[in-house]
């Protein structure tokens, strides 16, 4: 019975992904494209974060550093060096990956709460560097980044071309994450999450796997950040501030920790909420975010997608 249901779920997945892919293709005609692009960028960011927390059990409280660093690097490359957008994104991604390696080497020396605090402290350091460094524009942010021409051909100042680039980047990132999770490497990560001593005793070099997961996650977070810079044509301190690190935790938690689609759903909800709340409640935005956080932790730990999955499962048994 349960086997049957699993295979049924398994059969649904391609259709679900296919449907979502189609939805992504037509989304700019149904909703406000800039908002959808923002959701996709943050969605990828959250998915990258989820790779670490949801599948490897590592809570990084410093992921804003990767999002922001890549954003700034991409912005500087495109605006000041004059490279094409895809090179900018690539440069941002690599920079975030390299930073991720540095963070990772230091942070994986400890686990659990220490790990979270170390990543937080390291990202705070990045924040101060970005703030003081002249090239980043400090408090003013890096402004006026041109979107440029993709491969020197496609003009990205056209909203639709920009959208499809963002969508393509998202799909690529999402595919990488999906592959990683379902690969033997992903299985080992899960094993480490569930029982680290056992994974060690099985002969796995746990530190190496954790570091690899960290670097992949940081790179993809960077890819999201670099793309975001092109969309908004700016990078600002918000992207490297620790509140951003908190926000991505919230997105992932709200959407569903350790589910493949959860982070995207969470990011969509939070971004849409922020955009809507900005007009209506003004100063209560932070409080509402806090309340959602508390409710998620107390009552709703599976998140939106997790709850739906549980519901489907229960329905399947009946």
């Amino acid at each position: 019975m349960s086997n049957n249901k699993d295979s049924m779920l398994f059969n649904i997945t391609p259709f679900l992904f296919g449907g979502l892919f189609l939805l992504g293709l037509v989304a700019p005609f149904m909703a406000y494209p800039v908002l959808v692009m923002k959701i996709l960028c943050f969605g990828l960011f959250a998915c990258a974060f989820n790779l670490l927390l949801g599948f490897a059990g590592l809570l990084s409280f410093g992921h804003a550093a990767f999002l922001g660093t890549a954003g700034y690097i991409c912005g500087i490359m495109v605006r000041d060096v004059g490279v094409t957008p895809e090179v900018g994104i690539l440069a941002g991604t690599l920079a975030a990956g390299a930073l991720g390696w540095v963070f990772g080497v230091l942070a994986i020396r400890r686990t659990g709460i220490y790990f979270a605090m170390i990543t937080l402290a390291l990202s705070q350091m990045v924040y101060f560097l970005v703030l003081q460094w002249k090239v980043t524009g400090g408090e003013d942010g890096l402004q006026g980044v041109p979107r440029g021409h993709l491969f020197g051909i496609v003009d990205l100042s056209n909203t639709l071309s920009m959208y499809y680039l963002v969508f393509a980047v998202f799909c690529l990132g999402f595919f990488i994450i999906h592959r990683t999770v379902n690969s033997p490497f992903g299985q080992i990560l899960k094993a480490i999450r569930e029982n680290e001593p056992r994974a060690i005793s099985l002969g796995y070099d746990v530190a190496k796997f954790k570091l690899m997961a960290f670097v992949i996650s940081a790179s993809l977070a960077g890819m999201a950040g670099a793309t975001k810079t092109l969309v908004f044509q700016l990078a600002s301190l918000t992207d490297v501030h620790w509140h951003m690190s908190g926000e991505v935790v919230l997105m992932t938690l709200l959407g569903g920790l350790g589910t493949i689609l959860g982070p995207l759903v969470g990011a969509g909800t939070i971004v849409a909420l922020q955009s809507e709340l900005a007009d209506t409640v003004g100063s209560w935005v932070t409080v509402i975010m806090g309340v959602i956080f508390v409710l998620c932790v107390l009552l709703f730990r599976r998140g939106i997608v997790g709850e739906i999955q549980a519901l489907v499962k229960r329905a399947g048994i009946h």
């Binding site: 406000y32 800039v34 908002l35 923002k38 101060f128 703030l131 003081q132 002249k134 524009g137 400090g138 408090e139 003013d140 942010g141 402004q143 006026g144 975001k228 908004f232 044509q233 700016l234 600002s236 301190l237 918000t238 992207d239 922020q274 955009s275 709340l277 900005a278 007009d279 003004g282 100063s283 209560w284 935005v285 932070t286």
Partner: protein, 404 residues
């Protein structure tokens, strides 16, 4: 007789048609003003909900007084000091909600982001809150008005006055980021130009909370004046701790970017005797008092220069729309630049080609607690700095729109 009546009638009809024609040029016959401000963060006291209120007051007053043939609507949003949220919101307003102008825009990162969106979408950005000079220099464009003040005007006014009154040696306490550094550079130039000498400076992390180490350095320098090239909570804490360590009143402080809300929150005891420059003080004359009391009745706080400037800029914008008979960006901008500004906020104010609105600024000194007779009685106006001296001269402008 009947002939004359007929003529009058015809004239009226023609006039009505003409004005209808003019109205037709206003998209949807609605002028929509977006107030994009900080409702929850660092700048919410000096702009925030007070700026939204000021906008509403300007709209109400305009309708009551000018009886325009078009409707006026306001939308407001909290940009949370995030440039990306601000730019998304502005885009959405311009693209989807028919907003004609995004206003207020406190904090420079937001201002720079939104003015670029406005240029792209051919809409107007009216800025009252942000302080940085790049808005009308390197980054300037022809759809932006920088209305109330900027760091040049504040630093220039205060540094010049204090140096001329005998504060010849200076030491700067500077917030270590672009804004603080430019404030320091601008003030240093003014101090030197007026025969003063800058003995040194110390950069403090931003944001900081403990400034005592840096203040002790300033004290050791022996400078007569300690220039505070920082803002908000950093300035407040510097002032408080300077008093605590007995640095004031032996050495005096000059706040280079201070608002009445800062004085209000610190109280007069640590701030007394400080010089600062402001674009508006509520208790300056009958006109400012009358408006400010109306504001106070609703907000329970006296207006800052940002909030007063917000009212003035929105009112000026609406007048220009009415006079031009259109909400077309080019025509409205031309009208705004052509028409001088005369209200409680500014006398003979005008908008230059770089987008800078120039008007008289005021050098004020903070009162002693014993001199303050009623709530919000904080300043003595020491001097009026004429518009042409208050702001950066066009000859120094780095704005490409300025023809030299």
């Amino acid at each position: 007789m009947s002939n004359k009546k007929l003529t009058t009638l015809a004239c009226t009809a023609a006039f009505a048609m003409m004005s209808a024609g003019a109205q037709a040029q206003i998209s949807g016959n609605v002028v929509k003003i977006g107030v994009l401000t900080d409702l929850s963060g660092t700048y919410s006291d000096l702009s925030g909900s007070g700026a939204v209120l000021a906008t509403q007051m300007a709209i109400d007053d305009f309708i009551a007084k000018e009886k325009p043939g078009f409707k006026i609507e306001m939308v407001s949003a909290d940009h949370q000091n995030k440039a990306d949220i601000a730019s998304t919101k502005a885009r959405e307003w311009f693209d989807r909600e028919g907003v004609d102008t995004a206003t207020e825009l406190v904090t420079t990162s937001v201002a720079l982001a939104v003015m670029k969106v406005a240029k792209e979408k051919d809409k107007i950005a009216l800025m009252s809150g942000p302080a940085s000079t790049p808005i009308t220099n390197e980054e300037c464009n022809d759809v932006t008005v920088h209305y109330t003040y900027d760091t040049y005007a504040l630093a220039n006014g205060t540094a010049k006055a204090v140096t001329q009154q005998g504060g010849k040696t200076w030491f700067f306490l500077t917030a270590d980021y672009a804004f603080g550094q430019s404030l320091e550079a601008q003030s240093s130039a003014v101090v030197t130009a007026n025969g003063g000498k800058v003995l040194g400076s110390v950069r403090h992390p931003f944001p900081g909370s403990d400034f005592s180490s840096f203040l002790l350095k300033a004290q050791a320098s022996g400078a007569q004046v300690i220039g505070l090239a920082n803002a908000g909570a950093d300035t407040a804490n510097s002032i408080k701790q300077a008093a605590e360590f007995g640095i004031t009143p032996k050495q005096s402080l000059a706040g280079l970017l201070m608002f009445i809300t800062d004085v209000h929150s610190l109280g007069l005891k640590p701030t007394q005797g400080m010089y600062l420059t402001t674009g508006f003080y509520w208790d300056r004359n009958e006109e400012t008092r009358a408006w400010s009391k109306r504001f106070f009745a609703k907000q329970k706080k006296m207006p800052t220069m940002v909030q007063a400037g917000q009212y003035s800029s929105v009112y000026h914008y609406l007048l220009a729309v009415k006079a031009a008979g259109t909400d077309d960006t080019k025509k409205v901008m031309a009208m705004m630049k052509k028409t001088p500004i005369n209200d409680f906020f500014a006398k003979n104010g005008r908008i230059r080609e770089d987008g800078r609105m120039i008007h008289d600024m005021y050098l004020v000194q903070v009162k002693k607690p014993s001199e303050s007779q009623y709530p919000w009685d904080y300043y003595t106006v020491k001097a009026t700095i004429p518009a042409d001296e208050a702001f950066q001269p066009l000859s120094q402008s780095k704005c490409p729109l300025v023809k030299k």
